[in-house]
Symmetry: C2
């Protein structure tokens, strides 16, 4: 598979970093409601990025992350204030890496590596810095530079142009089924990192490969 692969490109939220690792902080701030908050927050964050793209009303992922948290707290009928909300937003800049990520990236460091995320730079850069992975990546690519969210073809086109490669020379890895559908629809090689053993999305574009975590990528490279 990887003979012709010239860049290994990783989605960030849910793929390298566990977005549900905010649960602990949310538990602490809101009396054990961390699970409900983290689940709904993520769902609304994605929904708002999709809806704003559809409406032609782009806003940064950091603003969307704040707005979706606010909706979540209203929905769950949880009393809050802007100070608490800021603490949770800050937790999004200190997400946990999935256990295998550092080792896999280190083993791949002789390859061209990049991240490609819906996250805006004000949340993406601090997160990557915090993880101490920065020096492993050739490029940190954010859709915010062209204000077109994944899974639009324009967003994957931005990654393609930034990398200066052909579509099929890019192996794109994401744990988000919709992101993999969008990437394959655009023409990337795709590996769905199906961490939660979810069913395939029924969108008529299936991943080339499905793995339970990122370590399986190494089988193709070494």
């Amino acid at each position: 598979m990887t003979a012709s692969v010239k860049a290994f490109v990783f989605d960030v939220y849910g793929t390298l970093f566990d977005v549900y690792s905010v649960k602990e902080k949310a538990d602490e701030l809101y009396n054990g409601k961390g699970y409900e908050i983290s689940m709904l927050w993520r769902q609304k964050q994605l929904e708002y990025s999709f809806l704003r793209q559809l409406m032609g009303k782009y806003d940064t992922f950091s603003n969307i992350t704040r707005d979706s948290l606010r909706y979540t707290l209203y929905y769950l009928n949880i009393q809050s204030d802007s100070e608490k909300e800021q603490l949770l937003i800050d937790a999004y800049k200190h997400l946990s890496l999935f256990p295998e990520v550092k080792d896999v990236l280190t083993q791949l460091k002789h390859k061209k590596l990049a991240v490609f995320s819906n996250g805006s730079r004000d949340m993406l850069d601090p997160l990557i810095e915090y993880s101490s992975l920065r020096q492993l990546f050739d490029k940190i690519i954010s859709v915010d530079d062209i204000k077109q969210y994944k899974p639009t073809p324009a967003s994957y086109g931005h990654a393609l142009h930034t990398l200066g490669l052909e579509r099929e020379e890019i192996l794109f890895m994401s744990s988000n089924g919709w992101d993999i559908s969008g990437a394959r629809n655009f023409g990337f090689k795709t590996a769905w990192i199906n961490r939660k053993k979810l069913p395939l999305e029924e969108l008529d574009v299936n991943p080339h490969h499905i793995y339970s975590d990122l370590s399986h990528i190494l089988e193709w490279v070494n």
Copy 2:
């Protein structure tokens, strides 16, 4: 408010008809799993319409409804077959009207009334026929005619052109917060029929009016 309103336009799924009324049939077919099925099915149905629009990979709402049901059954680990699935799909053509709908529409019948839906005609027409409301509507408008889902501006533009009015002459009513955001973003007058007492969507476009059901529209007309 309604002095300048020249058309009363209604969303269909969730607004006139209760999409969760498939619960009963699903309970019967799948041993009491109707609640989980109906909730996730609706969520994935919307998600797939958004994702296909974003990817530029339009498919009809009836196909999306089938695909999202299939995902739902896999996700919930429910054994099924195509015959049972077809029975549930058929239930989508026999949804229950919300209690006040028939009376409200009858009282408004001297006005120009229309429905405007993401539903394709193969599911929309049988549903409207089944409800015996067909003769009350001047127009049955489906996004399928231009293959652009709500909440894209193009979709609301299609309703506008079909009605031959100015944007602000249209009062659009939906129970779906994202649909109201899209309609107001486009320039319609909007009334959010907030049947479930949900929080406002945090999308920077709030409805002009919020009502608990459609009967409150009559206060403005009579």
